[in-house]
């Protein structure tokens, strides 16, 4: 049987469930509120942020533009979006077990491996669509409302200015990276959904793992330093690497450059390894699983 037809069945089910649209609404509402807040009071916020720099630099132009808004939104939301991802991915198997449809599904002439791959693909397509939706709101609408200009990113020790003409491809790359990070989260929730008969468990477990790993990341204790590079949560914000630019001898931005592309690629590779690990584990568990629901 064609794999694409089974994926179609899975996507049909995903997008006919009311809960699927919670995530889309949540993103629209949260991003909309952030945009509204910045539209009303953004100048004060920017002035406050730039206070320390205004003595040394003469900063002018439209700093609070759509590109900066997208950066702020991405930074704010990419740790919350996993919950919205887990809402659907954590329900892929456990939801079927809860409905009692898993046993009917497994009595159809489709191999268990193909079934799990189709479900995994469907949950990833949902994740990608959700990220595209987020990109439309955080980047597209922000640029429409706030306009486009150079992106000024304030970090603890430096300010990075990226020319407007050099920003858009960085966002495309950042969202692609964010997709990979969220697919890793999706794969984890998907794997956990194999062990439950309702979706609450996998969703809670996924979020708990992310919270625990994030805390481990922030704890500056030597005992955890050995495992930190291997935790997928350490690499979820790797998209920021696309906004670190190289400078030439005159301290000017080199157009199209990324300061540490190797680090970004290693982070992406670790996320990919986690995703594949969760997928293979899901296939093995599901193939051996007795369907008792």
């Amino acid at each position: 049987m064609q794999f694409s037809r089974i994926v179609y069945v899975e996507l049909y089910k995903v997008f006919r469930k009311p809960r699927t649209y919670i995530a889309f609404m949540a993103i629209a509402v949260i991003v909309g509120l952030i945009q509204l807040g910045f539209y009303a009071d953004g100048d004060n916020y920017i002035q406050f942020g730039m206070q320390s720099l205004s003595d040394s630099f003469d900063i002018g132009g439209n700093i609070l533009n759509g590109y900066l808004m997208a950066y702020i939104i991405l930074q704010t939301m990419l740790m919350q979006v996993p919950l919205l991802i887990a809402l659907v991915s954590g329900d892929m198997i456990s939801g079927e077990a809860n409905l009692g449809t898993l046993r009917l599904l497994v009595t159809k002439p489709v191999s268990r491996t193909m079934l799990i791959l189709a479900k995994f693909t469907a949950s990833n397509i949902y994740t990608i669509i959700l990220l595209i939706w987020m990109a439309i709101w955080s980047l597209g609408i922000s640029v429409l409302v706030f306009g486009a200009n150079d992106l000024l990113i304030l970090k603890s020790e430096q300010v990075t200015q990226i020319l407007a003409s050099d920003v858009l491809w960085r966002y495309v790359a950042a969202f692609a990276y964010a997709c990979l990070a969220m697919i890793t989260v999706s794969a984890l929730a998907f794997f956990l959904s194999l062990f439950a008969e309702n979706s609450i468990g996998p969703i809670m477990a996924t979020m708990s793992i992310i919270i625990v790993f994030t805390i481990l990341n922030t704890l500056d204790l030597p005992i955890f330093s050995g495992i930190k590079p291997f935790l997928f949560t350490s690499h979820m914000l790797g998209w920021k690497g696309f906004f670190d630019v190289k400078l030439n001898a005159d301290n000017e931005q080199i157009i199209g450059s990324i300061e540490n592309i190797r680090s970004v690629l290693i982070s992406a590779f670790i996320l990919l390894l986690h995703t594949l690990g969760f997928l293979f584990a899901s296939i093995i568990v599901f193939k051996k699983k007795d369907i008792l629901s």
């Binding site: 049987m1 089910k13 009692g100 046993r103 009917l104 002439p109 007795d290 369907i291």
Partner: protein
């Protein structure tokens, strides 16, 4: 006659509990096969193994001469099943459920074809309603329609009349007979009700605690002239005394202050009725009841008088 299902030494253990214990039986093609047992006897576990939902601990399952372990997809493409409750996607309509499961069954049906299938189970007018608003009977019928989507040669129905009203039960019974007698399909029906199975099945097996108790042709196993009679009178103690001291005493299988159960030949019912009236037993109700429990007790001689 060709064999549709051949089960050999099938065993399923869940840790230290053995749900199915070296079970062997065979089903001929075109037969309606009754799979009987009390709740918890191991029927559903056996059916789940036959549908590859759970893996046997030991034993072999051959369907249409193919090994289930090696030819799973080939076998399932010719099999339709309703396992326990007919759970479907509640947030989808009957039509949508049928459409999705037809794709998963490897066939592509047009709307007209799906509506025709729904008409077989009497749901064509409710095709666009969401399953969540369906009654239990409608869900059961939709479950059967889904099982029949791929025009299967083997249909496995696990307790198909559970939760149905008398009309629903009669409809399912007619459908099973039509599928078997008119279309030549092999139907395996599990039930804990002997009366249900004896009306439709050609052969049957009774299992208990995962083991086979008896297997054979229904006509050979159940005497069609023998019935179990349930007697309820104003004074059941007196009625029991009267029967115990008569020629009918050997037929009593159960007696309490609530009711008396007695096995006898159908022809003898009027004579028993006359005898009880002559003995001034004030009868409230007399009815025939053939339960699996009574049959099970009769074949194991475990009478509870």
């Amino acid at each position: 006659m060709k064999t549709a299902i051949q089960i050999s030494n099938l065993t399923k253990r869940f840790k230290s509990f053995t749900a199915v214990d070296k079970l062997s039986f065979s089903v001929n093609q075109g037969d309606v096969y009754g799979f009987l047992g009390q709740n918890g006897a191991g029927k559903s576990t056996t059916i789940r193994m036959m549908l590859s939902l759970i893996k046997p601990s030991e034993g072999d399952i051959q369907i249409f001469g193919l090994s289930l372990e090696k030819e799973r997809e080939k076998i399932l493409s010719k099999t339709g099943a309703v396992v326990e409750k007919p759970d479907l996607y509640k947030y989808l309509s009957a039509y949508e459920n049928m459409k999705l499961f037809s794709i998963l069954s490897g066939i592509s049906l047009t709307r007209a074809e799906i509506m025709r299938q729904l008409a077989v189970v009497g749901l064509e007018k409710r095709a666009n309603d969401k399953v969540k608003v369906y009654s239990q009977g409608m869900k059961q019928r939709l479950g059967i329609a889904v099982a029949l989507l791929n025009d299967p040669s083997l249909i496995i129905l696990d307790e198909p009349t559970n939760g149905l009203d008398p009309q629903g039960i009669a409809d399912i019974r007619s459908l099973i007979l039509m599928l078997s007698k008119d279309q030549g399909k092999t139907v395996l029906v599990s039930s804990h009700l002997l009366s249900e199975v004896e009306q439709i099945a050609d052969s049957m097996i009774i299992i208990d605690r995962g083991k086979k108790i008896i297997e054979g042709k229904v006509s050979e196993l159940i005497n069609p002239f023998s019935v179990q009679l349930e007697i309820i009178s104003l004074d059941n103690v007196a009625a029991k005394e009267v029967i115990m001291h008569s020629a009918w005493s050997s037929g009593i299988t159960y007696a309490s202050t609530e009711k008396i159960l007695i096995n006898l030949n159908k022809d003898m019912i009027p004579a028993l009725f006359k005898f009880l009236v002559e003995q001034n037993i004030q009868l409230i109700n007399i009815k025939t009841t053939n339960t699996l429990e009574s049959y099970f007790l009769s074949i194991t001689n475990d009478h509870a008088v």
